[in-house]
């Protein structure tokens, strides 16, 4: 019998980041009722890499919300880092000490009025008290993955978790839930729910284009030419740093690079390869009856 590894052991040092995303409210988080389920004709690793690492798709895949004034362009300042089985990255938000009574958008990213901002400012103030200013630039956190296929998104206008369930080599079903802080007033929870649906539900103004691109990545890679080309995954190669250097806090675990880096992609795929070849320490002996 193969026993599941306890969550704390599996995510290891990533727990610090995971708690910044899911345990920053005094009362914890809750899920909005219902689940979004949809199936994309793509390999499960394509959306998973996307959530583990891919900030540079935002300006191109998601030019649409920018064109209609929903989102501002990203800055060059950010992080892509990983620790144990967890992967995490985004543009830095401003330090909590610069929060202006909840008036300013934190990432300067979502351009619409956002009733969550003032509550996020309170949470950031508590985190600043505990950790100091540098760590608050990771709140809200951004995109993330727990290896292999659990993903999350924590940005100023919504939070979601999802699982990319493989249905064979060329098909993936996503199960996705909307997450809100338990202590928020009902109208703020409702606003976050609507913002989630409008942007990252299957009909969302960002998710629509992701679905299209994930399928066409698969189509392109599966064709004759695609099968005979090597993918370049060298962005940020040789520029890896410790997370402590990237974040500016000795307590930040793991390693990574800047916002425009494939460092997480390389490490995620290495772990995947190690599992597929049975060489990963956690991949077991194969005696799983």
């Amino acid at each position: 019998m193969l026993e599941a590894v306890p969550l704390a052991d599996w995510i290891g040092d990533f727990k610090l980041y995971f708690d910044l995303v899911f345990d920053r409210d005094t009362d914890g988080v809750e899920f909005i009722g219902g689940v979004h389920k949809w199936t994309i004709d793509t390999n499960w690793k394509i959306p998973t890499e996307n959530f583990a690492t891919d900030m540079y798709h935002v300006a191109y895949s998601h030019a649409r919300p920018a064109e209609i004034g929903l989102m501002n362009p990203l800055t060059d300042e950010g992080f892509e880092l990983s620790a144990d089985m967890g992967f995490f990255g985004h543009q830095f938000s401003q330090p909590a000490s610069m929060d202006n009574g909840g008036e300013e958008p934190l990432h300067s990213y979502w351009a619409m009025p956002n009733p969550y901002t003032e509550f996020l400012a309170e949470q950031r103030a508590r985190i600043a008290e505990k950790f100091g200013d540098p760590m608050t630039r990771l709140v809200p956190g951004g995109h993330g993955v727990i290896f292999p296929n659990f993903a999350f998104l924590d940005i100023e206008m919504l939070r979601l978790v999802r699982v990319h369930h493989p249905e064979g080599p060329g098909r993936t079903t996503t199960y996705q839930w909307c997450v809100v802080d338990k202590s928020l007033p009902p109208d703020v929870k409702d606003a976050l729910r609507r913002q989630y649906i409008l942007t990252f539900g299957p009909s969302g103004l960002l998710e629509q284009d992701d679905g299209e691109n994930f399928r066409e990545c698969q189509n392109g890679a599966a064709g004759y030419i695609g099968r005979h080309l090597e993918s370049n995954m060298m962005l940020g190669l040789g520029q890896e740093r410790t997370a402590a250097e990237i974040v500016g806090d000795e307590r930040a675990p793991g390693t990574g690079g800047g916002i425009w880096s494939e460092v997480n992609q390389r490490r995620w795929l290495q772990i995947w390869l190690d599992f597929m070849t049975g060489s990963h320490a956690a991949s077991g002996s194969g005696d799983n009856d």
């Binding site: 909005i32 009722g33 219902g34 689940v35 979004h36 389920k37 949809w38 199936t39 994309i40 004709d41 793509t42 895949s61 030019a63 649409r64 919300p65 920018a66 064109e67 209609i68 929903l70 079903t173 839930w177 909307c178 409702d190 729910r193 609507r194 649906i197 409008l198 539900g201 299957p202 009909s203 103004l205 998710e207 629509q208 284009d209 992701d210 679905g211 299209e212 691109n213 994930f214 399928r215």
Partner: protein
């Protein structure tokens, strides 16, 4: 005044009210509502989104709750739960605008779509409004061989304007899918 979301529980047999007390009046009302839906479907299939949104009231609630699999009450949906759409006029405008910019990858080039509207029933009538239900099959063909099918029904509350014109005040869409076998949902219903 009943809300569209309370249908179809309130539906009670053939439509006879003081507003439609003759067979001819009922037939004309049915014709008017059907023609409105056929026109609306043609606007969507021709990608005339700016004309399409003109058919909605500024107070519209356009929503499509996710369907739950549970015993006894398959059509029961929760207020405040997840939806495929949950739009007011402002967010519907954002959707319409977003289909028409140069980076709308999910619809560039535009999908070939066909909205088939049927089983139209006018279920409630007042001088200012009617409630109507309709079924739909929407076919989406994309690029070379991507094909998606959406099936469901709509519960509408329509504001009555002059000259057989209508405005959609509320639309609840029940898509008959729990899990979608589509890469995304970039068509409107």
């Amino acid at each position: 005044m009943p809300s569209a979301r309370q249908e179809p529980e309130k539906r009670v047999g053939p439509l006879i009210t003081v507003e439609t007390n003759t067979a001819l009046e009922r037939a004309l009302l049915q014709w008017s509502v059907e023609q409105f839906y056929f026109y609306e479907a043609s606007l969507l299939d021709e990608h005339r989104y700016n004309d399409w949104i003109e058919l909605f009231s500024k107070e519209v609630h356009y929503w499509a709750p996710v369907r739950l699999t549970r015993e006894g009450a398959p059509d029961e949906v929760d207020d405040g739960g997840l939806c495929l759409f949950d739009d007011n006029y402002g967010s519907l405008e954002l959707r319409v605008e977003s289909f028409q910019v140069k980076s709308a990858w999910a619809e560039i080039p535009p999908s070939r779509t066909r909205h088939l509207i049927s089983n139209v029933q006018v279920t409630w009538v007042s001088p200012e409004q009617v409630c109507a239900t309709s079924n739909f099959i929407t076919f989406r063909s994309r690029l070379e061989s991507v094909e998606h099918l959406f099936v469901g029904c709509r519960h509408d509350r329509l504001d009555r304007l002059a000259d057989d014109r209508w405005r959609i005040r509320e639309r609840k869409i029940l898509l008959d899918h729990s899990s979608f076998m589509t890469d995304n949902i970039s068509v409107m219903f």
